[in-house]
Symmetry: C2
Subunit: 206 residues, 2 copies
């Protein structure tokens, strides 16, 4: 009677809490030892429960990783979109998008690591890795970024460029920061964020 509509309408209060706890332990496990070593027993150990309990609440290891991936994506996506919506002009929205994306990485490093570990390791039942999976329903982040750029072009504040390529470049520049320790060690997040905003603005300007 409290919160049921999350997954299928069933699932009690305690069951939902336990699921959250397991996913939280999974995040820590993925962050600490990586996907390859993240066995059910390792996750159970960090959650302080038995491995059988994980199997009780998730049909499958893949099911657990699926739910966790969705949770992580939803969380970072809403964080970023919230900040983008508070901006008004295309330029401000673009700045907000970049800044918020990088800020989320900085404030949720373990979540980001877990996300990366799942995306590059987990596979669909057809054995397709997530990182090669062409999501039918467009990624809302990528979609939003595309909308910002298109509206900027339509309003004449952005110049002429290939929309998909520019979107992809921006996304790559954001994601690359976390994945490149050499850069992380050389330039802090605030600097990277402000410099990237400056560079991108110059690249898109009319």
């Amino acid at each position: 009677m409290k919160e049921e509509t999350k997954t299928q309408g069933k699932s009690s209060f305690i069951a939902e809490a336990r699921r959250e706890q397991i996913m939280e332990a999974a995040i820590r496990t993925l962050d600490e030892i990586g996907y390859v070593s993240a066995s059910l027993s390792q996750i159970a150990k960090r959650a302080g429960i038995s491995t059988a309990l994980i199997s009780y609440h998730f049909s499958d290891k893949q099911d657990l990783m699926n739910h966790l991936l969705m949770k992580l994506v939803e969380q970072s996506t809403s964080y970023i979109l919230d900040r983008v919506e508070q901006a008004s002009t295309p330029q401000e929205k673009l700045s907000a998008f970049i800044t918020a994306s990088l800020a989320y990485q900085g404030t949720h490093p373990a979540h980001n690591t877990a996300l990366v570990e799942i995306v590059f390791n987990a596979r669909t039942p057809d054995n397709v890795p997530y990182y090669k999976l062409d999501e039918e329903e467009e990624d809302p982040l990528l979609q939003t970024l595309g909308t910002i750029l298109r509206e900027g072009q339509e309003h004449g504040v952005f110049g002429d460029f290939h929309l998909s390529v520019m979107s992809n470049m921006i996304q790559g520049a954001i994601g690359e920061y976390m994945l490149n320790p050499a850069v992380i060690g050389r330039v802090d997040l605030e600097t990277y964020s402000s410099e990237l905003v400056r560079i991108i603005h110059r690249a898109v300007r009319a």
Copy 2:
């Protein structure tokens, strides 16, 4: 007496050939079923040999993955650097860098997948994943890219920007192409390559 200086000076001709064969089978295995499922027996099956033979030629599964990673990195690096060196001006070198990087991905998809699978899964003895490993000896590709950009600035053909951030952005834009099926499906490699070159040139221009 033929080719020995590769690894330690020892290792016969046949041993070296066998090692290459095993690594080649490992590439196919990683490409087909991913790191998590890439057991020694799966690799052996694809190589048409026994699993014990892999253990004979490589001290360890980690040892195999290490050698393969080095091989893959060296191969793509030399491919790209060769093309960069044939260009003369900073602008041409930058174009060559981008174009060659993307072209290599297009012509060696399985190698690239294998590289990604190893980088995001294999770990050092201290359990540090490669993608979080700050390479002591600077990555030659990143170093070259930095040099191109710096020389362009010194010669006055490139404007003012943060060098590390720009390097990282370019690298991210290149790497992101392979990792984003949505973009791959929407824009072909040639278009992406030429459009990215155009965008980057605009971003760095004085």
